[in-house]
Amino acid sequence: MPLPVIYVDELTRKFGDFTAVDHVSFEVNPGEIVGYLGPNGCGKTTTIRMLLGLLAPTSGSAIVLGFDSFRQSEQVRARAGYMSQKFAIYDDLTVWENLVFYGGVYGINDPARIQETLAQVGLSGHETVLTRELSAGWRQRLALGIAIVHRPQLLFLDEPTSGVDPNARRAFWDLIYDLAAQGVTILVTTHYMDEAEYCHRVGMMRDGKLLAMDTPLVLKERYVPGQVYEIYTAALLAGLGALEQTPGVLRAALAGDHLRVIVEQGLGEQTLKSALAATGVTIASIQKGEPTLEDVFLTLAKG
């Protein structure tokens, strides 16, 4: 068994009375893409800052690439790449100049390496474009290039695809999969529930606590213990009221033009139909739905 790339044990960080990260423990193995999912302010970025050695833990420890992340932060940072959501790329420099500048920070001055990095992120041929002229999706690729110019073994991505459209997001993820296939380990934070589906394993964080970490499939099987139904009816509120009272219905919610319910395993469509019919609600259609990571999060958040 190879050693984990990240080994976090009871990691905690307090700011005054506020516990930003609360006894978090997890491991990330070589070549894995692990997602860190949670709302703004839940402690995702604080965790990454500790893993990069930018912030001292209040208690607990983090071993990253075999080094203590805080006491040996220089060794960690020489081997890890970091792409931040709020990363400053110089707008008045060209694509090439930005890469040369940041490469220099890591002591990389070989033009061939810069060229290779550009090819990796699909920006070859755009060397002389001013950064301010790039679309949001292409800026993100440049930011990724800057984060991997020193060939890190581990890459931290902090909300890398906020604000780009789904096409650019998918293109970006293709690059991430290519990097992972080359053996780079990736820890990516996101607050998009659907984006977490791209990861091998997903950790769910809320109020500083890591609530669970596993593959999307296992999370859904474990924390959405039932069948999802989507029920179309004109009488949404009456239908919701009836379903909330129906034994075996674990969760019922309004979803725009239909109702979405999660029922205990084994409870069939017929029970739902009868429950609605008994209160005079007519069903236009009822169909099985798929559980989502949002369902998982809602289950976990209830504690």
């Binding site: 499939l217 949404l236 919610a253």
Partner: protein
Amino acid sequence: MMAHVEARGLRKNFGHLAAVNALSLTIAPGEIYGLVGADGAGKTTTLRLICGALKPDAGEVSVCGFDLRRQTEQAREQIGYLSQRFSMYEDLTVLENIRFFAEVRGLRPDEWYPRSLEILEFVGLADFRDRFAGQLSGGMKQKLGLASALVTRPRVLLLDEPTTGVDPVTRQDFWQLIIHLVSTPTSDSPSIFGENGGSRRGVSVLISTPYMDEAARCHRVGFMKKGQLIVEGTPGELRARLEGRILELRGSPLTEIRHHAAEVPGVEDVQAFGDRLHLRVESGQAEAVMRRLPAQLQPMGVSIDALRPVPATLEDVFIAFS
């Protein structure tokens, strides 16, 4: 029934950039319309054109039958607008904040006070009316924003990315409020929706969001890209456009399968999702691909454990049609 919002041929340029370009949309009473797109696609500009905060370079908007250009006052009275960075006074209490926004909109004390109490009850902030806004949680601040937008009893609610970055629990609560607003018949709570609209349906809502999964909660969705609406419909209609064209594949090694699958005839697009792939196939080709792909790939030494049709997501739709 008269549309609550009717926008025709809207255009707005900022310098050389066409932020909104030839955009038309109609929102029916009681409808939740989701405007979905990336940052810079033109969502916020569209909302600002509809609420009258920006003047279009071309096109027109009417709100509940009032022309925004010629009957500006009447049109704007119909609208409640919650901007992306709603700013409240952190050193005022919840009730004082609502009072401030109500008075700015010209409501008298005998109007705003009873309404405020009722709206605070509706959004679940009744117990917090005397708390300073600065001491509210993120979700409560957002509800205060909604309450402030509702105090003038708008018939049209414009919400600019109200749920970006918030906790899914809060997001869920917020959506339940919005859906209650549009689906409650007016007679149930007359003073939120206006006293003289007995038979009128609830308010209509135009909401912008960067989240594809959130679009699924709207009655109708418009995808925006580069200032234009590129595709529009109910979530069901939109997904039906890709009916039978998305296949889920599980197997190993996935990286190798991903590269080879793209070359199988009939496969248009391959997307990796952690432990599985989604293939988009040409119309009518699903069964052929399900036969062809294992036959073509298995001799290469990869193992295909499962290949089955799955429902399309709205993200699949956006990608296929943009």
